[in-house]
Amino acid sequence: MGKTIWIVTALVMLAAPWAFPGGFALTLLTQMGTLIIFALSYNMLLGQGGMLSFGHAVYSGLGAYITVHALNAIGKSWGWVTPLPLLPLVGGFAGLAFGVIFGYVTTKKAGTTFAMISLGIGELVYACVLMFPGFFGGEAGISTNRTVGQPLFGITFGPSIQVYYLVAAWCFACMVAMYALTQTPLGRMANAVRDNPERAEFVGYDTQKVRFLQLVLSAFFAGISGALSCINFEIVSAENVSAIRSGGVLLAAFIGGIPFFFGPVIGAIVFIFFVAALSGFTKAWLLYLGLFFCIMVLYAPGGIASLFLMQIGLARAGRLRRMALPYALAAAAALVALAGLIGLVESVYRLSDVTSDPQMVLFGLELNAKDPAVWIGSGLLLACGLLAIRFASRTVVARWDAVQQELKGASA
């Protein structure tokens, strides 16, 4: 079972550009590949080590900066075969170095204090990046050209398809490496420190050292993802070390599912899709994303992966069909509420921004934000939807409990 997943993953990554053709799809896939590495490295801290960080972009961003300078330095006078495939290692070791430097300070404390310190370090680095435009290029950042050196078997890494496969190869390699790390003494002790730092001390481990090493390794992979981002976009700016990036990877990892190794992989894919797909449709996409995140924290803290795994358990027992009706009810209720919410949010946006056109197209309907009917209609939809959700969720829970009881009875 274990090996099959890896083979399937590799095949999916190989075939993806054919399944989703087109320039836009390719950009998304490449971004997903980079974010997967970043989110997995983040989960080394949170899911595996119990360390909540609000400043993880520091390691990927600084890795990206070092990479862009290396690329520019190489680009000036390099006549041999392009070293681009190996460049992510530069980013990785840069991330590792900064992991050592900042990790020493941040891992002195655990838990909530660690989270705040990570935020402070993130802000510190961001401010420094803006303060030293000589090295960091200021707000505009530093740009580069990835087609440096002689082509390797005709591969220049100019076309985006070649970049995609470079990212995919590194993504797969990093996934394997990070998974392997979870099966080592350090990886297991990081779990132990997460669960019970006191007990870990009493079996002979210095918890601070365990956390420190886990952070350093995590920073290595974050640096690789930063380097790949640099190669893909051919520009690195202060945004790469910003709190927004740090927040984004946290959201992505969490939505996917912190407690599971593959969770952040799912989360990265969903996140890119969410951002890319939604931001084209509405200005309020971050509001919807934030709302989605908050609801997940309250009602599905194990992420999409946990929801998925719960269904698999049922499917194996042949009971999944019993949940079909309650799920359909809940989905319908959620859609109604969502329609109402979208109506309200979009109307507010059109009205509050004087430059916006109050005329909008929602769900194929031509609506005017100034029309009170739109407001009342949306409000009603939202209210009814919320009530329906309450009712439907009770049905879901009742049916779920009933099925679980049946299964217990059957196995007894």
Binding site: G120, E123, G290, V297
Partner: protein, 295 residues
């Protein structure tokens, strides 16, 4: 000389504002164990509500209405969301408040747009109050200090003279005490969280027009408040007080100083100074100025 005195007063007034924020955060954290990432968002809401109210009714009603509104929102957040997140642990609570910060910022974008709004100091408080050695000192700054000190004195009285206050004091250093309480603990939590939000909102009311009222103000002051709590020591109000004044003075003086340091003017590196203080504190004295508990 007068420059120094003016900056000193400015630094103190800013520090008191920061203490209004960090004290609310510390009390909520100490009592409920939840670090409210959206605390600075309540600050922002206070400023925006005050802007809206002062445009329609006036500044003086806004001084009361805006913090009340923010407090109500805080209570609703605790009652309907935080209480639920609580069963999944502190990380879940912190993550929820993190998401909440995003939500509030986007809601502000939604309603008031992405550009700063013109939240003005009321006409009665414009202009100088007194002169220090010939330099006029703005009346509004003095008003800010007056409100901040007044609020903090009331808070101190409430903490030391009321029953709930004594409970909170005990919880600051020994949170397990809360478990042993017989009275309505959930209601206490709701009131405390709402109170913390209202305090942050009040800071927003008086700070929003002295500084700037824009959607980025929460993200600008939030990390500073965290730095203060780390530097002062988790769970210590006295530590938060000293750290707030320290950071307030550092930030105020640094921005206006043109002295050179390693080829850079201090005013240029001013944004990083609070974080450098935090790093230094973590290296030299990890538990902070007066820390009693671990985070």
């Amino acid at each position: 000389m007068e420059f120094f005195l003016v900056q000193l007063l400015n630094g103190i007034s800013y520090g008191l504002l920061l203490f209004m924020l960090s004290s609310g955060l510390t009390i909520v954290f100490s009592l409920m164990g939840v670090l409210n990432f959206a605390h600075a968002s309540f600050y922002m809401l206070g400023a925006y509500f005050a802007y809206q109210v002062s445009r329609t009714i006036g500044f003086w009603p806004a001084l009361v209405v805006a913090p009340l509104l923010v407090g109500l929102i805080g209570m609703a957040v605790e009652r309907f969301a935080l209480r639920r997140a609580h069963r999944y642990g502190h990380v879940a609570e912190l993550l929820f408040t993190f998401g909440l910060a995003y939500l509030i910022e986007e809601a502000v974008h939604l309603v008031w747009g992405r550009v700063a709004v013109d939240y003005k100091v009321p006409a009665e408080l414009e202009g100088p109050l007194f002169s220090i050695l010939g330099t006029p000192y703005p009346a509004y700054r003095a008003f800010m200090m007056f409100i901040a000190v007044g609020m903090l004195v009331s808070m101190w009285l409430a903490l030391t003279r009321t029953r709930i206050g004594l409970v909170i004091q005990a919880a600051l250093s020994h949170p397990e005490t809360v478990e042993a309480l017989g009275h309505n603990v959930p209601r206490v939590f709701m009131l405390v969280f709402g109170g913390g939000a209202a305090l942050a909102g009040l800071a927003g009311v008086i700070g929003g027009n002295a500084f700037v009222t824009d959607p980025g103000m929460a993200a600008a002051v939030g990390p500073i408040v965290f730095v203060i709590v780390v530097v002062g020591g988790m769970g210590s109000l006295a530590g938060a007080f000293y750290a707030s004044l320290l950071i307030g003075l550092i930030q105020t003086f640094a921005v206006s100083l043109d002295w050179g340091l390693f080829g850079y003017k201090i005013s240029q590196i001013a944004p990083v100074l609070p974080y450098l203080v935090m790093v230094a504190m973590l290296i030299v004295r990890p538990r902070g100025l007066m820390g009693t508990r671990d985070g």
